[in-house]
């Protein structure tokens, strides 16, 4: 453990901020190079169509055009898909440019390269495509039905994967238990909407075969290894740089056609090639999230104590698999028990192809989908047994534990203490007073009714133990790396394998190093996001950065200190056992004034004038950490909404997030992650959904129709991260906080909306709870009662 915590746990202000605040940051569109040309994608206005002919002649003759290229002109392999989750999974072949068919609106048939951005866009419009339109399917049940039009004829079906968790316990309870709750929940597709669209710049030296890709990505390391395969550029000659990245939320946890094309074109043309995504392109060409349908069965006793939990899911894969597509529902498959303790568990899902943008990881990735249906069903159970939803959760919470403990999902949870989190959330939301106010409004028959929603959750972070990933058929490992270099003048460089894009790693990681090595955080420079500088990395997603990459820092520091101890003992002329590490120095036991700091030792190691025998010069070390278990944050959220029963409009009056993410490194950053996560979940609950028309066209095709909420719609949030139950998985005790808000908030809000209307007979409003959906739910309930 870190011996002296001067900075861990403190709200250290971010080192990242000054250049971001002053416009000096360098996002991908700020990169430019001499001789650079622009790439534009040619995406014909079809959703599902057989290509008859692509005519590029008019486009090629347009001003400034360098060339127009189709798949046959470029020697690119299929785009990477790295998670074939079952042995018999059917994998659609996915090329950067499609040849035979257009299968979704983002499918491109050609690229234009031109001298300027405008010329490339103008010429892309001039490429003409003759195609035969096929029926478009955007609905998963329709796509899964027998006889449905096939998205990929060669696969013979649209249902390309069926993953069965296998379950646990006596499955008979779903027939025999005293109380059975069956529910169906639909969660529409979401569009991630990092405010910075994607983009990339590829350049290199043809004669050397060396290339660099600068890309707005979360995963430079994974992009490097996979695109080496796609482009044929030798892995050691391909460098990938993630510059300042303007948000990701999973949408940049992928390897995209445009990245492969830009590299392929730089290789073919010998000039730097740049592509910047328009927002409209982003809505069809960048992955979507969610898009699932669940049938839920809960078995319980008459008091609402859970006996069994069963979930059967249909998941929309989109038209192809992107990097991880079918792995996303599977990730959720481990958290359907929530923080509860049933004896029986069942989860399975079928992945279905449709004529839509591929789905993949969107903030939470499988766990929000799971938590939503669990927590909605818990409220349904409470209604069925006539109990308060808080009480039903309370009697089902798993008892506290501080060592890894097997849960019914088949994995061991690192630590947890759930009930105090629920108590805290109820206290902060002023639960009893809100219930009283609710009763008053109901008695008065107010137009605006009050609803209270609660969620208790557990989630799985810290992806991931490599052996488990292997067992789950994921193609890569889940480790991460850290290299620490102590410079002679007292500065420390940390090279991390994580690749932040807003999470503040430069600050939090510096805090960890500062405490570990007894230096000031200002003396620590964190380097990241460049495969040449930090080759050992697995990048940033799934709330893994701290609980894997951060822990790697800890082990690198252990190695640095082991060597430093040897040098210090030599210089102080004592044995290593006679040294204590305290107050940021190695001190002689009994004579604490005889001491060496890490900077002092770093200088000795650098000039190397008098190192002990067998000790190499330079104080530096690298560690690669492979976690032994996942980490499991947990929490309780509560909110109060006011629903206008005439218009269906919902206002959130109060939102409380109580989260236990283990040891907190920087409470300011943790709070920021919770705020952002809750806001995204509130957006999911009340505003956002991808809507398609009958012809398969995306109706919510811009930010004017896809409703990302503003400061006017997002409520003030009350957060509490004071409970820090240390993870038993790693020596820092950290768990992760990047996704908790997004996981817990959608059911919290929807439960509150339903709760506001439950006295009218409403049991579901759908997601998002748009005014029209709420209005319809009220009308239908009234109709049913009448």
């Amino acid at each position: 453990m870190v011996s002296t915590e001067r900075f861990i746990g403190q709200p250290v202000l971010r080192k990242e901020d000054p250049d971001l605040l002053t416009g000096q940051a360098r996002y991908i569109d700020d990169w430019t190079m001499p001789g650079m040309v622009w790439m534009a994608m040619v995406r014909p206005p079809y959703v599902h169509a057989t290509i008859e002919a692509v005519d590029t002649t008019a486009a090629a003759a347009m001003p400034g055009v360098v060339g127009v290229f189709t798949a046959d002109d470029l020697d690119l392999g299929a785009l990477p898909f790295v998670w074939p989750i079952t042995e018999d999974i059917k994998v659609p072949v996915h090329y950067a440019l499609t040849k035979d068919k257009i299968r979704f609106a983002g499918d491109a048939v050609a690229v234009v390269v031109a001298a300027s951005r405008e010329q490339a866009i103008d010429a892309a419009e001039a490429v003409s495509v003759r195609a035969t339109v096929l029926p478009a399917i955007t609905d998963i049940e329709e796509a899964a039905a027998d006889g449905a039009t096939l998205i990929h004829e060669d696969l013979g079906t649209n249902v390309t994967v069926h993953w069965v968790h296998g379950g646990a316990g006596d499955q008979g309870v779903f027939d025999t238990a005293p109380v059975i709750v069956t529910e169906r929940y639909i969660q529409p597709r979401l569009i991630p909407n990092a405010i910075e669209p994607r983009g990339c710049l590829a350049y290199g030296v043809q004669s050397m075969g060396e290339y660099t890709l600068v890309s707005s990505t979360q995963i430079p390391h994974i992009v490097k290894v996979t695109l080496s395969g796609v482009t044929g550029i030798a892995e050691q000659k391909l460098r990938v740089i993630a510059p300042d990245v303007g948000g990701g939320f999973g949408s940049k946890l992928n390897v995209y056609a445009e990245e492969a094309l830009a590299l392929g074109l730089a290789k073919k043309l010998g000039v730097p090639v740049k592509w910047i995504e328009g927002r409209g392109e982003n809505y069809v060409g960048t992955i979507h999230g969610r898009g699932v349908l669940h049938d839920v069965t809960l078995a319980a006793d008459k008091d609402g104590k859970l006996i069994g939990m069963k979930f059967v899911e249909l998941a929309d894969m989109g038209a192809y698999y992107q990097l991880l597509t079918p792995g996303i529902p599977e990730l959720g498959g481990w958290v359907y028990m929530g923080p509860y303790d049933p004896q029986t568990y069942w989860y399975e899902f079928r992945g279905v192809l449709t004529n839509t943008t591929p789905t993949d990881a969107y903030r939470g990735a499988g766990r929000p989908e799971a938590t939503y249906v669990v927590e909605r069903a818990m409220d349904a159970l409470a209604r069925k047994v006539g109990k308060d939803p808080a009480e039903v959760r309370r009697i089902n919470l798993h008892p506290p534990f501080d060592e890894a403990t097997p849960f019914i999902c088949g994995l061991s949870v690192d630590s947890g203490n759930f009930e105090p989190l629920l108590d805290k959330a109820l206290e902060l939301v002023d639960y009893d007073a809100m219930r009283a106010e609710q009763r008053t409004r109901r008695d008065r028959g107010d137009v605006k009714q009050l609803g209270i929603g609660i969620t208790t959750y557990i989630e799985m972070c810290g992806l991931a133990p490599s052996n488990i990933l292997g067992a789950l058929r994921y193609a890569a490992g889940g480790w991460d790396g850290a290299t620490i270099e102590c410079l002679p003048l007292g500065e420390v460089i940390l090279k991390t394998g994580t690749s932040p894009h807003g999470q503040g790693h430069e600050t939090s990681w510096a805090q960890i190093v500062a405490d570990g090595l007894g230096v000031d955080p200002d003396k620590v420079t964190v380097l990241h996001g460049d495969t040449m500088i930090t080759p050992l990395g697995m990048d940033t997603y799934g709330s893994r950065s701290l609980s894997v990459g951060g822990v790697a820092i800890h082990y690198a520091m252990e190695k640095v200190k082991e060597k430093a101890r040897t040098i210090a003992a030599h210089e102080l002329e004592v044995s290593e056992d006679d040294l204590d590490w305290s107050d940021g120095s190695f001190r002689v036991k009994g004579a604490p004034d005889k001491a060496r700091t890490i900077p002092e030792i770093a200088l000795s190691a650098w000039h190397a004038h008098a190192l002990p025998d067998g000790v190499e010069p330079s104080l530096h070390a690298t560690a690669v950490y492979d976690p032994k278990n996942f980490t499991w944050p947990s929490g309780a959220h509560a909110c109060v909404v006011e629903v206008d029963t005439e218009t269906g409009h919902t206002d959130i009056l109060r939102y409380v997030a109580v989260d236990d993410c283990g040891t907190v490194i920087n409470p300011m950053i943790v709070e920021g992650q919770v705020h952002g996560g809750v806001a995204q979940g509130v957006a999911e609950a009340l505003y956002e959904e991808a809507i398609y028309d009958d012809l398969g066209n995306l109706m919510t095709s811009s930010m004017t129709q896809y409703l990302i909420p503003s400061a006017m719609e997002i409520p003030h949030m009350i957060t509490d991260n004071s409970q820090e139950t240390p993870s038993s998985t790693n020596p820092l005790g950290v768990k992760g906080i990047g996704e908790a808000g997004t996981i817990a908030s959608p059911p919290t809000v929807i439960n509150a909306v339903v709760d506001a209307l439950s006295h009218l007979g409403v049991t579901d409003v759908g997601k998002p709870a748009s005014p029209e959906r709420v209005w319809r739910a009220i009308r239908e309930a009234k109709g049913a009662l009448a």
Binding site: L20, L21, T22, G23, A194, I195, G504, S710, A711, H716
Partner: protein, 158 residues
């Protein structure tokens, strides 16, 4: 091509531009002022907010020719001699930014607003940001940053 002559961050510039050149691309690509970002096609996100004659506008929904003869201020001119402005400093202190992409637009929208309303309430600050989208922060610390810069305090709206 159309000739434009305008003042940007106090410096006078003349250039010939295609009429369709959006102000934001003129600033970014012809003047090299890349602090102003582009996040959408539809004047929705506000990342491109700059000041035109001292008032906030979305530079992606403005032709460069419309700024002819006028004064444009971008995020690059907000700090002076490396010193953050009080508003920027407040964003730093209150963790009012994460990925930073929307931040220049937020700062420019907020500084224009504070000129009109130097002592706003939380509700007024939120309303002033209705045209600026942020995907990272949930807005709470942005609102806090602006209120504190204005010497105001926040509380729950409820």
């Amino acid at each position: 091509m159309t000739h434009v002559s305008l003042t940007v961050n106090g410096a006078h510039h003349q250039a010939d531009v295609e009429p369709r050149t959006l102000l934001v691309y003129f600033l970014r690509e012809q003047l090299g002022l890349t602090g102003t970002n582009v996040g959408c096609d539809t004047s929705s996100c506000g990342s491109c907010t700059v000041h035109l004659d001292g008032e906030s506008v979305k530079s992606c929904t403005l032709l460069a020719v419309q700024a002819d003869g006028r004064e444009v201020t971008t995020i690059e001119a907000v700090a002076t001699d490396g010193e953050l402005s009080p508003l920027q400093e407040s964003f730093h202190r209150h963790h009012g930014l994460q990925c930073g992409y929307c931040t220049p637009g937020m700062i420019m929208a907020a500084s224009s607003f504070l000129k009109e309303n130097p002592s706003p309430t939380e509700e007024e600050v939120r309303e002033a940001l209705e045209g600026n989208l942020c995907r990272c922060t949930g807005y709470q610390n942005i609102v806090e940053s602006i209120l504190d810069a204005a010497g105001q305090t926040s509380g729950a709206r409820a």
